[in-house]
Amino acid sequence: MVCPISGSFASIMAALPSTLVSPTRDFVENSKVLVVGAGGIGCELLKNLVLTNFKYIEVIDLDTIDVSNLNRQFLFQKQHVGKSKAQVAKESALRFNPDCNIIAYHDSITNPDYGVNFFKKFTLVLNALDNRAARNHVNRMCLAADVPLVESGTAGYLGQVTVIKKGLTECYECEPKPPQKTYPGCTIRNTPSEPIHCIVWAKYLFNQLFGEEDADQDVSPDTEDPELAGEAGERAVQQEAGENAIGGGIQRTSTRAWAVSTGYDAAKLFHKLFHDDVKYLLSMEKLWQKRRPPTPLDWNNLPEENGTAETDSNTRIQDQQLWSIRRCAAVFRDSIEQLKEQLAARGDGAELVWDKDDEASMDFVTCAANIRAHIFGIPTKTRFDIKSMAGNIIPAIATTNAVIAGLIVMEALKILSGNINKCKTVFLNRQPNPRKKLLVPCKLVPPNPKCYVCSAKPEVSVQLNINTVTVKTLEDKIIKGQFGMVAPDVEIDDGKGTILISSEEGETEANNSKHLSEFGIRSGSRLRADDFLQNYELVINVIHVDQLEEDKEFEVVGQMPEPGPQPDTPQPSTSTNGPTEPQPGTSKDVEEEDLMIIEDEEEDKAPSSKATTGVKRKTSDSSDQPVTKKVRTAAAEVAEEDDIIPL
């Protein structure tokens, strides 16, 4: 045993008493595992692995330690803030078992250094990730390297673990994931009705003023609102043209340029955003026939109501106090001043990236969202609540992560001892289901033969407008965003092999701004997208449409037919409970949208959703009725630990 740190302990180790007996014990000690992520789940997982006597562990995480991690990522302490998670986690875990070999990488798993050969080194890969993009990537790498993967996720009290093995089970991408929540542009720009609409607007505004300008993130009134049906907007434009109104979809002065020209004058910005633009919206009378019309605000005459009472402020933390509009305006002024300085400090042409943990950025979004909410008669929110929504913070606790990391190792033990067919997808619920299960094990599902990732010849069809979609959009939003490639090469299957996108820098950048039609792409054209790193090739059939609903740029169609009823299909081994507890013959596993599972069994008569908080009963009690497999919204989507799901 080579172990630089353990030294004299190595001899003790060999004889340590253990629950595990041979051969499982030997399989564990001889295995090589990769832990992807050293955050909430990763810390717990590393502890379990070293204590269970896994000897060869590699761990990778690109993140550094933050104060808000310390309530659960127990391998880290205050003095470690700012350091590499992977490195500190390794050092802490080695203290639990000095007889382990751990290699730590402070790096992104999508870095090309970690290719298929890197993955092939491992007996097992264990995911402890918090975002879908990295999960997609590791899924592909494990498929390419044919290494079993244990996938996991947590969100608050809920969690999930599953096992992915090429050819045997569903891969991470076999079931389409629900798209991330987006809001129609006209709701954000013209007719917000919920706090989140104002928060999205405020984040857009941040980018317009200080960040990367994005045409999709316009904050000015939208005259092309379908509700206006033409004439109303035209009239409004005529009325308000001139002045310093820069919105309206007609005048194309950039918000940024205008803000810079005023020297980021808070009063002027306020007047334009919260007075002039609002008056402009009011002129679109059609919008307000069935809505409460917005009330423009006057910088010099702000209301004082709505704040947290002074007496309450002692018992609340700062962030949970509700700001009055007057206070919002003051914060608006101060945060703009600070952001202006941050921008100036970065030199010409610099841009700020919105970060929930940057005080001024968070202040700005809080006050801008609340001022807008006030104008539209929408309840204002505390900075604490707005941070959750704007930063997409998924609450996270030590206990859920501990349970899930424990289950990951239980699945790993089964895989290592050759019993992968006994592995389950296990859900941690908030309350036991009607069959008393707090942890709900479900059979693994076989691969989807139409999966656009793990099937033999992956192929999809995408609807888009070939005359408006650019090569850049194809690459960023479709090939990378939708289909999860990291460094794609794309060619047109036109007999000439025209290269549209190259993964080599500098080769195809000239194509970026061109539309697909300029390359002869028509409805029915086939594109071959290939990611060398992921060892993954996908054929994309282009279907031209003039327009998609809700301003979508593209839509994946006919990607996967609804899989047929699964539960009656015999699994490689159905007697997963061992001889002592025979599985009831009619037992079925059905997944619910919200991570909730019910197993259908004839014993369970009445739906008892009241007794089991949050658990809905989906299937009929009749065991004859085919059980339709629901779209999987497993931990994968719902359950991500920290700060993901960009708005």
């Binding site: 302990f9 003790i12 340590l16 008493p17 253990s18 629950t19 007996v21 717990e44 379990n48 204590l51 269970t52 808000s68 310390l70 309530n71 127990f74 205050k78 639990f96 078992n97 000095p98 919920e194 706090p195 069935k290 809505r291 409460r292 002692n314 933390i317 700062q318 962030d319 949970q320 008669g377 929110k381 609540d385 609450p395 996270a396 606790i397 030590a398 206990t399 859920t400 501990a402 349970v403 990391a405 424990g406 289950l407 190792v409 239980m410 699945e411 389950k424 941690l428 309350q431 036991p432 008393k436 299960k437 707090l438 942890l439 094990p441 409970n577 061992g578 001889p579 002592t580 014993e603």
Partner: protein, 349 residues
Amino acid sequence: MADGGENGAISEAEAALYDRQIRLWGLDAQRRLRASSVLIAGLKGLGAEVAKNIVLSGVKAVTLLDHQQVTEEDFSSQFLVSRADLGKNRAEASQERTQNLNPNVKVTADTEDVKDKPNEFFTKFNVVCLTCCSQQTLRRVGHVCHDNGVKFYAGNVHGYCGYMFADLGEHDYVEEKPKIVKADKEKGEEDKEGPAGKKAKVDTTETVMVKKTASYCRWQESQTVDWTSDASSKAMKRTPQMYFIMKVLLRFREDHGRDPAVSSREEDKVALLRLRDDVLTEMKLKTDLVGDEFASQCFAALSPVCAVVGGVLAQEIVKAVSGKDAPLNNFFFFNGTDDSGMVDCIGKS
């Protein structure tokens, strides 16, 4: 029972540290956590997991109680002691690492034997969590806690399986429910009618608190169920097998003064199977109710099993002291060989 008391507000530093959990259970729950004292007796793998989770959550004080010494067996599940602590008292050896998890929590080690502690000792705590204890101690402390309004927990991990028990007496708690917003009505008052026929909907950002009460039976009642009665024998079919395995393991502890040991694996297996027959027969149950497998799977403690049971147990303690969310009533059983994690209410008539 120690009076929690609301000594001071949550500081900004605490708010930053506990941010991700305050976002889950709220500031009031965090404030109650911060005022509570927890006793953890038995610092093997499960005790270590519970201690870690509870200290991280930010309670006021945790007392680690264990009269035994660190053994080699601890190194496969007890991460609060180091290799150098072999032979030292387990509570003392665990103190430093436990304290390092969260400097805001007062962590004390107590090296006395839980069975020698007088009844008054337990009433100083808001929560008492016993692991590695005998039936006798569980019964006595269970009664003391029940009679004095102390939240009582018991748990053990044996190899691939483990369980926890809760007796919260009469427990008041609140549940957060999403607020149902009737868009039409609410908006209608202000602006005639909402846009395009909106239905009643759930506003995920607004919630209401609903007050509830749960009542629990004593540990002793959970151990003395008459399985021959009509109702019980019917319920038995759906009672997790782990309950009966627990009874067998507690009897083993009673008879041998220790748990099944890796060093005497083969003899202990035989003893376990014999005890299974005895225990089930005494309960007037068939001995084939529990298969033989358990006897080879209940040695030492598997770290991931401690993590699962300790995670569930600690979350229950958090629920109990914060008075937030419906607590489990009253057993949780985990069997790592088939990933089953069952909740069952046993002993309450």
